[in-house]
Symmetry: C2
Subunit: 338 residues, 2 copies
């Protein structure tokens, strides 16, 4: 408090005084609490900017000892694309003494506005968002956050480590085109990843000079959705010789639809999925698919998180896109009349 | 400290004094820390017993504010039996304002001796153990813990809410017997749940007066294990007309093995699984299976946890076994020569 003291970093008290609010309210803003009004949040963020306040250290001090745990928010446990991501995260994080805890966004939806809130109260050292980001996902200043897997919605302040879904959509479609298919349908659904894959599909078909393809989306991307969408698509376009499904789970449903219509795979109908999930690799499916390299995405996300915990939060956010690759198995072949 | 004060409950300080250790060490014992020697742990537990110390309140006070989160430890994310369990837990817990965080025991194995340690440092309000318990799983006194899904190894101090796997094994086998099958094989693997199901299988066959059946276990219970075990079993006992797999994931591998040997399901070979997982219900598999009623198991486990958080930890532990039920779909029929 003496005028003779050395220049020092601003504290949370300085921010509170400059913003005309209490220290507790600054703390709430730091934690990303949804209970703070937008006006007061803006005042606090403005004070932080004016004072060049570095929230990471104060946030850590406020939260007390950290847990060396990274929280991972997934979309749906039934869609197994995340298994590789978790393996990559675990391998990358365990070398630095971090562990992983997982939450299914849908599962906790009744309890809290954002599935992030639970992890924040559990004092995680960082977050991985591997689901569709929502506006309710407020990230506290200074907490390392990575959006991983697909480049979907934006989360301000979060790094992105993803596979290039649009390119993957092109890879899948080009594979079918190279096999000689010209009547190709696409099964898609809601969500940013599915939309990017559908864009890649359209790009490849346009580049091949083919007319607008049949694209079927019925909502979500479950096996049931894939089954229903494939039945409708094959009914509306019976000459279709190949299907590209937005993920392996939908492709599984497409295989069931093909069987129900008496179509052999791959002799009468080729089916390609996306994700290279454990289901695709089973002996039963042997599904040709696109590998989003989720283990490598997880490892890279782990690296970003570890780097973030050691650096200033003011470092600009980065987006890293990994190149997906085709995994040919037994569910695709040339068309019979091709 | 005055001799005139009213009788009061013993505190952590009383326990520390009686055991001749520090308060911090009592706290470590309460948290189940593995860093305490067995001798000192025994001295603390002995002092607690002599003083009739009730650790739950003190443990809660020590840990400070709780997180209203229940930690769930799973065995393997690829085996989807747990999806119903999580749904039941979520529905039961959210009504009381609790959320769920999940860890895969295998995934965090490199980071800590026990996957419980992570959740403990995250100050969970309770634990669900839905994996094979290990001796490293030390449960802190006063923390509500439920072993859920299958009655596998013992966790001292934990309640058990499970499906009756032995009875389920009988249900599956009796279904095949009632369809007329007499040459039935079983695909099994490591783990307490698989062992109980195999016991049920043997009991039913013995009760039917059939000789010792072919049972194949190759280690774990993945799709790959089911595929390999089924191929070997069908090679060694080519007259087999029905297979009971220890879970739906192994059954999926058995379906692939049947196809590879040119056997139609169910015309040439009936296949029954266990768990009624999302995979069994797919249009592609339509797998006859045994429903362990995991959503109800989850709801009952949630009820036990909520009750435990409101009662004294001295209440004796309980075991509740739910009766599984058969789910007939399209993968079983009578034998062709039956």
């Amino acid at each position: 408090m003496s005028g003779a003291e050395a220049p020092r970093r601003p504290t949370i008290y300085d921010v509170a005084a400059a913003a005309g609010v209490s220290k507790s309210l600054v703390s709430l803003v730091l934690r990303g609490s949804p209970s703070v009004s937008e006006a007061r949040r803006a005042a606090v963020l403005d004070a932080m900017a004016r004072l060049d306040y570095r929230p990471s250290q104060a946030a850590a001090a406020l939260a007390g000892a950290r847990t060396r745990t990274i929280g991972v928010v997934l979309d749906d446990f039934r869609n197994l694309w995340f298994v590789g991501l978790l393996r990559g995260l675990q391998e990358g994080l365990s070398a630095h003494g971090f562990r992983i805890a997982v939450a299914d966004g849908t599962l906790n939806a009744h309890v809290e506005a954002s599935p992030l809130d639970g992890f924040l109260s559990m004092r995680v050292d960082g977050l991985v968002i591997a689901t569709e980001p929502t506006p309710a996902m407020r990230v506290p200043a200074g907490l390392p956050v990575v959006v991983a897997g697909s480049r979907r919605g934006e989360v301000p302040g979060a790094d992105v480590v993803a596979n290039d879904d649009r390119l993957g959509g092109r890879l899948a479609t080009d594979h079918l085109l190279e096999l000689g298919h010209r009547r190709i349908g696409h099964l898609t659904g809601d969500g940013g990843a599915a939309q990017l894959r559908a864009e890649g599909f359209r790009e490849s078909l346009l580049a091949a000079g083919l007319r607008a393809p049949v694209v079927r989306g019925e909502g979500s991307t479950t096996e049931e959705d894939g089954y229903r969408a494939a039945l409708r698509l094959l009914g509306e376009a019976p000459g279709t010789t190949a299907l590209f499904a937005a993920n392996d789970t939908m492709a599984m449903g497409a295989l069931a639809a093909a069987r129900e219509r008496g179509l052999r795979v791959p002799e009468d109908l080729s089916v390609i999925g996306y994700d290279d999930s454990p289901i695709a690799a089973t002996h039963l499916l042997r599904l040709t698919t696109v590998d989003g390299r989720n283990a490598e995405v997880g490892a890279a996300a782990a690296e970003r998180l570890v780097a973030r915990t050691a650096t200033e939060p003011s470092e600009p956010v980065r987006t890293a896109l990994l190149t997906p690759r085709l995994v040919p198995r037994s569910s695709c072949a040339g068309p019979r009349d091709g």
